[in-house]
Subunit: 300 residues, 2 copies
């Protein structure tokens, strides 16, 4: 499997880099340098695919490709190791224990450890503190090469399961606002949505979860059909930031002015400035603020 060669389509799938981008990097920076098959089509060795994945991950953190592709392997791994040790952790023992369980590939124990931690801390603390720290820790471990992709998948799957279970267990709210929760097409990260849904439902808001990747026109229709007060979108750090502003403007233009539009997730923080009628929610705690503000305004 490690000596396998990848077609350009396979590399696009595995790295998230568009075919056009892969070709233009080759032309400009001299990397990657795929072999060619009998038909002149590119064949990428798996080592280069690995490197491309690392580069993509660093780009999601804000590094620029021109520097990265011409860097040595040592420089790349140095960058991948965060210089700043993560600041004060609430309970480092719990975190590292869970990380170890993921690495231990013991699904059942992992699940019960997560459940137990959630119950011990209470849902709101768990979501505001522990889950984001776990997400970061998993992401950083991946960057340092300590985590496999499938281990990240396993973690995400278990966390998703847990959060959905927690949501189901919450009482049905009817207090408002009515919030449509989703992501735009191409954005498939779901944990941000689920964390938001938890927090909002905990506070008595009514959530209409549409899952990920709803076409813009359908977000507008959903907002109308469900008489939504708020549309909340989640953008992960991996989402190409240049695509965010046009998407948001188009959506804002389609929604009635009375419907609020909230943006959250790591991909929304890098926005220069939000257009009128768009609220950037930089962190999970910000959701509670936004909710409080909305309610205050609604009673006026």
């Amino acid at each position: 499997m490690n000596s396998a060669q990848f077609s350009i389509a396979a590399v696009e799938r595995d790295t998230g880099l568009a075919k056009d981008t892969l070709r233009v990097w080759e032309r400009r920076y001299g990397f990657p340098t795929p072999a060619r098959d009998a038909n002149g089509e590119r064949l990428y060795p798996s080592a280069q695919v690995e490197r491309l994945r690392l580069i993509k991950r660093l780009m999601d953190q804000g590094f620029r490709p021109g520097k990265l592709v011409s860097a040595s392997d040592e420089e790349l791994t140095a960058l991948a190791t965060p210089a700043t040790i993560a600041p004060a952790r609430v309970d480092d023992g719990t975190l590292s224990a869970i990380i170890r369980l993921v690495k231990g590939h013991d699904v059942a124990t992992l699940r019960s450890a997560l459940t137990q931690t959630m119950h011990r801390q209470g849902l709101q603390n768990f979501i505001l503190d522990t889950v984001p720290q776990l997400n970061t820790a998993v992401g950083e471990a991946w960057m340092r090469g300590e985590f496999e992709v499938f281990e990240e998948h396993l973690y995400t799957e278990q966390m998703q399961s847990l959060l959905r279970q927690a949501i189901s267990a919450l009482p049905v709210a009817s207090r408002g606002p009515r919030v449509v929760l989703t992501t735009v097409p191409e954005e498939q990260h779901v944990l941000g949505l689920l964390m938001s849904e938890c927090l909002l439902t905990l506070e008595g808001a009514t959530c209409i979860p549409l899952g990920t990747q709803t076409p813009l026109a359908d977000i507008v229709r959903a907002a109308s059909a469900h008489a939504a007060d708020v549309v909340a979108l989640s953008f992960s750090a991996a989402f190409p930031s240049r695509q965010v502003p046009p998407l948001v403007s188009q959506l804002r233009a389609g929604l009635p002015p009375a419907v609020a539009l909230w943006l959250g997730g790591g991909g929304s923080g890098r926005l220069r400035s939000a257009p009128d009628g768009v609220r950037v929610v930089p962190s999970l705690a910000g959701i509670l603020e936004a909710l409080a503000d909305w309610r205050q305004q609604a009673t006026r």
Copy 2:
């Protein structure tokens, strides 16, 4: 929103048709016929995007694009209405009641109706009969234009929530086989995986769910790390069938021969012939057969 123009990238997102495909259709068939912006770039009117979505959906059913793009609007809608009325339904009242609830946009009632139906029928019957019928009914309603995309999303989200809840409630199994469940990159449909996980866990198998879109190399690593006996992949009908055989061969070559490879979902049925060591599971009931066969072979 309806008069909005779409860039070629937006159309690719919303329809699932690759940019190259959109350009070559324009060249060959004279459709679509996008306008151009000041910079010469294509701008697709939303009506054409709608038509493209319908064409894509019909192609997923096996129709060929050459016929579809040159067909009139009437012919298209005629094709979209299934000629064959769906065969014997177990309990048509329940099905149509749930469909009406989705259309009624009442999330809470929908959720409790689904939960209630599941409990009434028992989990296995629910998954073998009702859920596939609901999926089909939702898909057909979409085709006939009776369902919005966001309504399909809402349905999928609620069903997903319900299935995950059911899985969590099942006792932890330790009997074997150990089954890694996932989809390949680009394949994001999750319900097939969850239904399979339910059935397998009900029968006492141990599932290692990786969620969707695991890169091939990582599926192999996961199978090894988790000492899997079986890797089960789900392909939806929407997955480009031409991509399935190379993907499956590559994966089969990477997995140890002792690890079984099962393919399920609507996209696996159209395969001409499966390579050696690959089992195509045409329906959900087939999973139970495959499981029984595996256990029989294991005791030999």
